[in-house]
Amino acid sequence: MAIDLAQFHDAFFEESFEALDSMEAALLKLNLGAPEPELIGTIFRVAHSIKGGSATFGFSEVASFTHTCETLLDELRGNRMQVTRHVTDLLLKSVDVMREMLRSVQRKEPIDAQRVADLQFDLELAIAQKNQPAAAPAPAPVVAAAPAPAAVEAAKPRVAHRWRISFRPYPQLFVHGNDPLRMIRELSEIGELSVKLDGNALPSLEALEPESCYLAWDLTLDTDAAREVVNGVFDWAEGDCDLQITEEEVPVQAAAPVAATAAPASEAKPSNVVNIADAKPAEAPKEAPHPAAAAAVHEGPKAGATDGGSIRVSTEKIDELMNTVGELVITQSMLTQLGSKFTGHAAEQLRSGLATLERNVRELQESVMRVRMLPISFVFSRFPRMVRDLSGRLGKHVELKMTGDQTELDKTVMEKIGDPLVHLVRNSVDHGIEMPDVRSAAGKPQTGTVFLNAYHKGGAITVEVGDDGGGLNKDRILKKARERNLIGPNETLSDDQIYELIFMAGFSTAEQTTDISGRGVGMDVVRRNIKELGGTIEVRSEYGKGSRFIITLPLTLAIVDGQSVAVGTETYIVPLITIIESLQLKQGMVNRVAGSGEVFWFRDGYVPVVRLHEVFGVEPRTTQLHEGLIMVVEGEGRKVGLFVDDLLGQQQVVIKSLETNFRRVDGVSGATILGDGAVALILDVPGLIRVATQRLAA
């Protein structure tokens, strides 16, 4: 039978990576003083499954390493070893190494054998150094084969041994599902078997217990099979029978070509009697009973994704589905527009049908969107480890508080928000939180807090990264900005404007750059990444008290809530999230300022007017500001008033990439297809502001 084991590899890798994540999380939760048996059980099970799987699928290096890991975990599980910081460190490193190994195996790349061997040595050392000296770490991975009947099948009765077998089952043999007939049949397959039944113990019919075994057998087996093959036939009956296997001289003929198969010297020895029921305990001294083991295997249902009925679907399939639904939405709005033009008695029915269609399509779209949503804990989960490692290296005491980690957002957004968040958290630990003595001197608790928070707000998700560290130093930021000519020497800036400086390219305030937080390639990249997602980042800070970075992201990249506006015959979509207010200017409200073009007073400051028709070169209905409308939008902390002919309506639009279908256009983030089949550009407000500013400057 040929079954290609490779077909299970992907599933194995996937489940192993997931399992390693949960092992890591459990390790980080582990209480050094009084480790929770459930957690140790979880950790043990991960190592155990990976070992079993990798051995089965032929990844012997992984199996060998994981075996050592498991041995150590078994010691912890049995309370024979203390959970110390050193041990958890080793185990965390083991998680890394197992991940690495699996990744290498997955990519069919060589494994970093040295690193593995080093850590394996450390693990073995730790096992050897536990409280009790004894019990050396099991040296080799378990490669014990199953009771190999496969080897048995081929064996032709080429007589090398004559085994005399006295098989006397205890009455309870049947209870465990074992069947003497099965064993006798198996024996007959490996050689010439003669069977003598001993029915002396059989009671009268009235006294007979149907579930008990009363029979015994004396068997003679002529075979070339070695003793352990014969023993193997009975291995499951161990403890349920008296078994004696004796070798007898083989009469004349077959004495010559012996031992060709399995039997090494020891088996060829003259007969000796082995009672397996006694032999086993002698060769393996019983370890101390471990009370924790029983408790460790009790476990509540696994949290999260594996719970309940779920299936794995590749992201491409969901993207395809999403795309089709997007097309469906467009078709539906086309039909709706068309339907409004019909008259007659059937038109009413048509329209009600279209309304139902619209509702169903919307529900379908929302359902597909939900499929793509994952809790942000997928990103957050890496931080406990990171903060722990970082603070350890820096000699700081840092506690990480995470809230809202079940807040959901689109998978593609999630994938892209990871790096910026890592950067911000690193910054908080490295630059934000002060050294313990500094904190004490400032009257703060020695242990600093880094917090991560996520929540939904409107149609967006907000993620906050903050700390109770030193906060941003305005003077130092200003000084640095002047040194780097980012601002003029006498320019005065508001607090917010000063904080904005840290997002400029080539800015780093750390006294000295470290290998942890990089060298000034930081915040500008963070902002750019977030901007590419259609999100924003801002910072609040109080000197001496800490900083808070607030990231706002769209829930999805696939659709956007937009306001459609008309300029001439064109329609543009402005993302709702960027709109502050729409208003009509009266004559005389607009001032012309040299260098800034037209400006008007809005709330607490002057806002420049950006004439959309000029930016895109289209013919407007009117060029008179008081005849059109001004839509105040905000991007990257700057406000502008977009001058448009008219507002049309709000709608959710499906974003089609311009880059894929055409090319990148400044000030435009994508396009969508409207109900009438026309294409509308979706405005990239921050980009548009940049374009417009450049035009004014030029």
């Binding site: 084991l5 799987g53 378990v142 199953a146 305990p281 393996a284």
Partner: protein
């Protein structure tokens, strides 16, 4: 057709066992932990149960014990799939009522051969 209930918390193992056994002509039902297996076992009948030992919610040992308490499962073969070849673990399984065990790693051929050992 011989019906086998295969219990393992690892999806890849479960798949492997299922495919190996079903291509050998067995009818296989899978469960991902002891509790699920027990629920399934109570609803329908099986000729053999093959269970992993280390599993969340209810482990293999508890499952075997629970199955042996059910009259329909008193005498059928119940095999444990275990990586632990140690005598302790085997004894624990036997005491719980296991018929026998298969030691991981195994390949599909070994698995099927073992099934034929206890089934006809």
């Amino acid at each position: 057709m011989t019906r086998i209930l295969a219990v393992d918390d690892s999806p890849s193992m479960r798949d492997m066992v299922r495919i190996a056994l079903s291509s050998a002509g067995f009818e296989v039902t899978s469960a991902s932990d002891g509790q699920e297996a027990l629920d399934i076992a109570r609803q329908s009948g099986f000729d053999l149960v093959l269970s992993d030992v280390n599993m969340p919610v209810m482990d293999g040992i508890q499952l075997i014990r629970a199955l042996r308490a059910e009259s329909a499962y008193r005498h059928i073969p119940i095999l444990m799939l275990t990586t632990e070849a140690g005598p302790d673990r085997k004894k624990e399984g036997k005491d719980a009522g296991a018929t026998g065990w298969i030691v991981k790693p195994f390949d599909p051929a070994q698995l099927v051969a073992t099934m034929h050992r206890v089934l006809r």
